[in-house]
């Protein structure tokens, strides 16, 4: 088993311990305390952070030297047998999302769009934006990054190589492309950040949906009718694994005439949608997060609430809509601008 790519000396010499000091959910009285806790985690000792962590991934982004603090924390949680959620909840989801062997060889051609385990979203792949695209979907190609929320690095190590192998052998091996467009932000995080940290080989080239849209909008610039609307953006946890894509989203918004209105809980200060805390049985915290997010969104007077992650949209969409904002995925917003 590959260990997480991580250098303990980096943390010993770190002056800021940003991974913990910037955490929005666990508080520390000073850097010294945060360092103590961080070193306990690094050394495999008990730390309150292991129990209090919301598993929002943000520390991955906060670490200035990419020392994989969150992946290591999950590793320690599992080593210590810590369960972020009750056993039956974790076990049922492990079974629900397990590969079912319901996959058949299929001829695909580029762009090949990986819809992860969301067959209900394949309808999003349409129109000029996805012209000529093939989609692949199902639990046999599920990215499995969700197990970071459930102290299950072992499942990631077990299943992700199988998923990669499925993607290659059933689809990409005979395709005219080696690129895989990840409709799901988490898939991209898996095949880049997770794969790198866990030492998993990825034989194809993952393309983030934002990079794909951005490029297509250049091709389709004559077809764009600016939306001319203010939007708020709900940045998901998985985007912490690929923060370089956030400025790309700004370019997309600019190209389609959508104004990403600054709000308190965006960018590096993005707040969890509340979905994972519910799985952790922390509903009152989840309620608080939902309220904070929505009040923040409403305070800036936007028309759309734009989601990157389908799970965030499922969690917040109804509440957002009830408050008068239109919940929408990035791809659908782009398609509005393209007249599709």
């Amino acid at each position: 088993m590959n260990s997480i790519k991580f250098d303990p000396d980096v943390c010993v010499n770190c002056e800021t311990i940003d991974c913990l000091m910037k955490c929005q959910y666990v508080s520390f009285k000073d850097v010294a305390e945060a360092r103590d806790e961080k070193l306990k985690i690094n050394d495999g000792k008990d730390s309150r952070v292991l129990e209090e962590c919301l598993t929002c991934y943000a520390c991955q982004e906060y670490c200035p030297v990419d020392n994989n603090p969150f992946f290591l924390l999950v590793e320690r949680q599992e080593e210590k047998g810590f369960l972020p959620a009750p056993r039956p909840i974790i076990e049922e989801q492990l079974r629900m999302m397990a590969p079912k062997g319901r996959i058949a060889k299929e001829t695909v051609s580029g762009p090949v769009v990986d819809m992860c385990a969301f067959p209900m979203l394949t309808g999003c792949v349409r129109g000029k934006l996805f012209e000529g695209a093939s989609t692949i979907v199902g639990t046999d190609i599920f990215c499995n990054i969700m197990w970071l929320h459930f102290a299950k690095n072992s499942t990631i190590r077990e299943r992700v190589p199988e998923m990669i192998d499925n993607i290659m052998s059933f689809y990409l091996a005979d395709a005219d492309t080696n690129e895989l467009v990840c409709f799901h932000d988490e898939c991209y995080g898996t095949y880049t950040s997770v794969a790198d940290a866990y030492g998993i080989n990825v034989p194809f080239k993952p393309i983030h949906q934002f990079d794909y849209y951005n490029q297509r909008l250049d091709v389709l610039k004559d077809k764009i009718t600016p939306i001319n609307a203010k939007i708020v953006y709900q940045r998901p946890c998985s985007n912490r694994l690929c923060p370089q894509t956030d400025p790309v989203l700004d370019e997309i918004f600019e190209k389609i005439g959508a104004e990403r209105v600054p709000r308190k809980y965006d960018r590096a200060n993005a707040l969890c949608c509340g979905g994972v805390p519910r799985a952790h049985q922390r509903d009152e915290l989840a309620d608080e997060l939902v309220d904070k997010n929505i009040n923040d969104m409403l305070s800036v007077g936007a028309t759309y609430c734009v989601f990157n992650c389908p799970f965030c949209m499922a969690t917040l969409g109804q509440e957002v809509a009830e408050q008068g904002l239109m919940p929408i995925l990035v791809s659908d917003l782009v398609q509005i601008a393209l007249g599709d």
Partner: protein, 459 residues
Amino acid sequence: MTTDLITRLEKIVGPRFVSGAAEERYLYSMDQGTMPPSEPDVVVMPANTEEVQQVVRLANELKVPIVPMGAGLVLSGLTRALRGGIILDMKRMNHIIEVNPQSRYAVIEGGAAQGMLKSYLKKHHPQLKHSMPDAPPIATLAGNICIHGSGHLSVLGGSHSDMLTGMEVVLPSGEIVRTGSCSVAGEWFGRSPLPDLSGLFLGWSGTTGIVTKLGIKLFPSYKHNDVLVFVAEDADQMPDMISKLTSTQVAEDMTPWMTPKPDWAKGFLHINIAYGAHTKKELTFKRNLLQASVKKYIDDKVAGFLPLPAPQKGRFLQIPSPDLVRFADLRKGGGFEYVGAIMAIEHFPQAYRAGLEIAEKYNVSYSLGARIIGAGHSMMFFFAYAFNRADAEDVKRASDALEATNTAALAMGGIPWKAEQPAQQQIIDQMDPETFALMGRIRSVLDPNGIMNPGNWEK
């Protein structure tokens, strides 16, 4: 005699509503369950209480058996004409006579269907609802109440017979009687403080009279509704979990379910908990109460609530639930039956294990579950088996499994619900002899000619 019977019935209800045709008699000879067919001589559909009365008087005169029937969906063959005679189909008597929004009751005819009342209330009294069983919407309210059914408000209001406020009944001898407040006052608000004669017609499988009108309790219909799905791994903990969840007194319905399909559910025990509120704040408050009640189990990590985003909750909030209907068609061929046994909550683990053992022994597709009645006062534990009616061996397997289940349910202190004829015999064998003797004396008084659904509740 049949020709004479048909002619005279035609004079009562009109020729369009009487049939002795072979195909009609075949259709009325069975339900979807495993009980063998038993044909009536004739089927009649009266339009009002007076016509019912005349049919009953005719049956008495000719000493012909008469079997009252709602939608015929009982699944345990209670509306088969075991000794031939007349099946009296109540479907034409389907009017909703009155809704009293202030005192929250409805008065309906004996053939009114669940779906009709639901639609009527939604249209005319959206602030009210009634307790729906997980049966097809055509199932009648009277039929379900008379078999002590339960439904989506049973944690709140008990079994459906507890929600009965009064009845109009045509006795086997032809008299029309009323029970409850409607026998004294104009309103149908309740059964107290009078001697409760409604019990003469509840749970008797149509052997004591024909219900032509009834009053039922209605309940507030909430703007905000939610469902929690609690998942556990140890059946022995279920009675305490149910007790704690019901102790909050905020749930409308609570339905444990255990099924081998889909694969992820196998071996786990789930409890769907439905509740509603006038405001979101109140809804959250109720959710917090429910969650706090089982915090010990959550903290111990042995059980928890499934994280269901709003779009995924829709199927759990559908009334009636579509899940049993899906299961019913699992084997194709339209065969489905279950033993529902009313029992004390503490027998949950025993019932669960018995169901698993029987399903394995008889190699039948199963779905186990329960509906909690009242604040954990009892439960209707169901052992459902799907079978292919076109496959005789499959039918036999399911039938054997049902019989074994009845035996197991009785052995653990449960009582088979809406018992089919063989199960009635099993109950009678275990019943206090004096109780059964009293049942016999009551029937003799009410039905001196023994015409009402004979073959049921007899030794």
